[in-house]
């Protein structure tokens, strides 16, 4: 995120209602020029709605949308100098790849020569030259995906919008296309806004991630910020796989940067605080990621919790252990050659820096 870049796309206090249902409420957002911004959130949280409002496909109930500093709230989609890649690709089945790519140019009344030249150029970038005279039905999933991108590319838009573009591909192809998209962004330096429910895609591609929760921004930040300093329990739970472990603890003492908590099972632990909480809460949620829990002997002084291993999932390079503790079942990520097995009694430890406390409203303390 370059500090000097002016916002390229900006949403100001935008609300979208479908009848009585509020899909997006009072949301503000800036997207920097040349950035790759991901809109991330679970299905139904309003990602597509937000993207479609930027595209101009969905009328905005209240609020404003700016592109390049000019208000476009009521401007036609075709006049916003943006292009969109649809989840379904929406390739016109009755047109060849060439016609699909050139469609917007032909609508705009470009000359045959210009259409051909620009289609060729796009085809070269996307390695589609050999498929130009095929119909979409004769292409593989990855090729269709590239045609969809080509159709956006040919218009030389200032902003690219992607709505879950990889979700129709199989796992292997998805990784490959992800890399190609990253390369494309590096080559074009265009602004890209990318909707996904897949945190891996968002984390690997984006330099800024907007996490949405039921039509509101849960947090905006770089991938690592979201991982290391989640602003609330929702983001903490959503980012990271397997998901963060949460359990109830009692707050016993609060200092400048740390707090003491009483854990289920009787032991106490120290946990880092972002800032001292303004009020003292008796019980809070403690969150710790599976990869930040490690196995120790039950009698070890550092063991915060102890329990019995319920299930062992060995994934080769790492092992997931489901440990039944007084705090409930916790997931622990261990190395691939972890020595423990089902039924073992183990202690769990974590460091103060790697644990988070969440208040009753879900905000990180």
């Amino acid at each position: 995120m370059s500090p000097h870049a002016a916002p390229h796309v900006e949403l100001r206090r935008v609300t979208k209602r479908y009848g009585a249902f509020t899909a997006i409420s009072d949301l503000s957002l800036t997207v920097d020029k040349g950035s790759f911004t991901a809109l991330l959130g679970p299905s139904g949280c309003g990602k597509s709605t937000l993207l479609r409002m930027i595209a101009g496909l969905e009328p905005i109930t209240a609020g404003q949308c700016f592109i390049n500093g000019a208000e476009v709230t009521d401007v036609d989609p075709a006049k916003r100098r943006i292009a969109m890649v649809f989840q379904s690709y929406a390739l016109y089945p009755h047109m060849t790849v060439r016609q699909n790519i050139a469609f917007s140019l032909s609508i705009a009344g470009a000359s045959r020569k210009e259409q051909d030249a620009r289609t060729q150029e796009v085809a070269r970038i996307l390695q589609l030259e050999d498929y130009l005279d095929r119909r979409p039905a004769e292409l593989s999933g990855g090729q269709r995906q590239r045609v969809a991108i080509g159709r956006a590319l040919v218009r030389k838009p200032e902003v690219f919008l992607f709505d879950e573009p990889l979700s129709n591909l199989d796992a292997k192809l998805r990784v490959q296309m992800r890399l190609e998209l990253a390369k494309l962004h590096a080559a074009l330096h265009s602004t890209m806004i990318y909707v996904t429910h897949d945190q891996t895609e968002a984390m690997t591609l984006a330099d800024k991630i907007v996490v949405l929760d039921r039509g509101r921004v849960a947090q905006i930040g770089s991938p690592l910020e979201l991982y290391n300093r989640p602003a609330n329990k929702f983001v903490a739970a959503f980012i990271g796989s397997p998901s963060m472990n949460f359990f109830r603890v009692g707050l016993t003492a609060v200092e400048e940067k740390t707090a003491s908590v009483a854990l289920p099972g009787g032991r106490t632990a120290r946990v880092g605080l972002g800032a001292p909480p303004a009020f003292a809460e008796a019980t809070v949620d403690l969150g710790v990621r599976p990869e930040h829990l490690s196995l120790v002997d039950t009698h070890d002084a550092e063991a915060a919790l102890s329990g019995r291993i319920g299930i062992v999932e060995n994934l080769g390079n790492l092992t997931l252990l489901y440990v039944d503790t007084p705090a409930g079942q916790l997931i622990v990520e261990g190395p691939g050659d972890v020595g423990s097995k089902k039924g073992d009694l183990v202690g769990l430890k974590f460091s103060a820096a790697n644990a988070r406390l969440f208040g009753a409203d879900g905000a990180t303390l």
Binding site: M84, F103, R151, R155
Partner: protein, 295 residues
């Protein structure tokens, strides 16, 4: 049924099942035979009419059943082509049916598109009107269609034959249904590409529903070609008749001549028969669609 019982019963039940299978196959074979026989009976009148046209008149009126002409001849057709105005009637039928087809399909596609895809005041009203007109028997309107055509001065003209045939609510309904089913993404992608509503219709929606258009065009054409009552009323001079009505006039003009009467009928049926045989699948599809069964 337990295993033990099944084993004990095995020889008997196998035998009885075989018997039943045989009986069933016999029934099945009889049904198939009856069906094939039925098809022959059904096709026979058409065959008999056709084969008669290749017999000389003297052979036609001889007693006995002659399934193939003893004296194969084209003279009936030659007579019809030279002595009747069938060429002109063909032309009239071609012009009126072609015009009806083009206008109906264009109008129905446009209206179907607007009602399916656009929001505008009166949309629901027009849709209700189309559904209502679906229930109206056109033959009940012949009197006032005639009055209207005479007010236009269109009685005994080709445009007068065409006009009342343009009410085709089913075609609009079918187009609307098909456009309704188009995924929204195509529309939005094209909008982002800068297409307006007309470009959307003519470059995306219609080409993507080419099959429906062909099917609807074919049966609209066949129906217009075959129409009897209205052209019969609207046309008074032999020069403006269509084929379907025209061939009933031959009789009046020349008296009974079986071969010639049938030959002219076969010529009238030829184009629709050819169209049907060429586009069987489309005709079938269109019929299903207009009956409300998705093909």
């Amino acid at each position: 049924m337990t295993g033990a019982v099944a084993v004990a019963d095995a020889p008997l039940s196998a035998a009885s099942r075989l018997m039943r299978l045989r009986r069933i196959d016999l029934i099945g074979a009889l049904v198939t035979l009856a069906t094939l026989l039925g098809a022959v009976v059904w096709a026979f009148p058409l065959y008999w009419g056709l084969v008669t046209t290749f017999k000389p008149e003297t052979e036609i009126v001889q007693p006995g059943v002659q399934l193939w002409p003893r004296d194969f001849t084209f003279e009936n057709y030659a007579n019809v082509l030279t002595q009747t105005k069938i060429g002109l009637w063909y032309l009239n039928s071609l012009i009126t049916s072609g015009a009806v087809t083009i206008i109906v399909v264009a109008m129905a596609a446009s209206a179907g598109y607007a009602i399916s895809q656009l929001q505008f005041p009166g949309r629901r009203f027009f849709w209700a009107m189309i559904l209502a007109s679906f229930m109206v028997p056109i033959p009940a309107l012949i009197v006032n269609h005639f009055v209207l055509m005479s007010q236009f001065g269109w009685v005994n003209t080709l445009q007068g034959v065409v006009a009342p045939q343009l009410i085709a609510p089913v075609t609009v309904i079918i187009y609307k249904q098909f456009f309704d089913q188009m995924p929204k993404d195509f529309r939005e992608a094209a909008k982002m590409d800068g297409a307006n509503e007309f470009q959307l219709l003519f470059r995306i929606y219609l080409p993507m529903n080419w099959g429906v258009t062909t099917a609807l065009a074919i049966i609209t054409f066949i129906a217009a070609w075959n129409l009897f009552l209205w052209p019969f009323l609207a046309v008074s001079s032999e020069e403006k008749l269509n084929v379907a009505v025209g061939i009933t006039q031959v009789h009046d003009a020349f008296g009974v001549q079986y071969g010639r009467d049938l030959a002219v009928a076969m010529l009238a049926a030829l184009p629709v028969a050819v169209v049907y045989l060429l586009f069987q699948r489309r005709v079938t599809q269109a019929i299903m669609l207009s009956a409300g069964i998705k093909g």
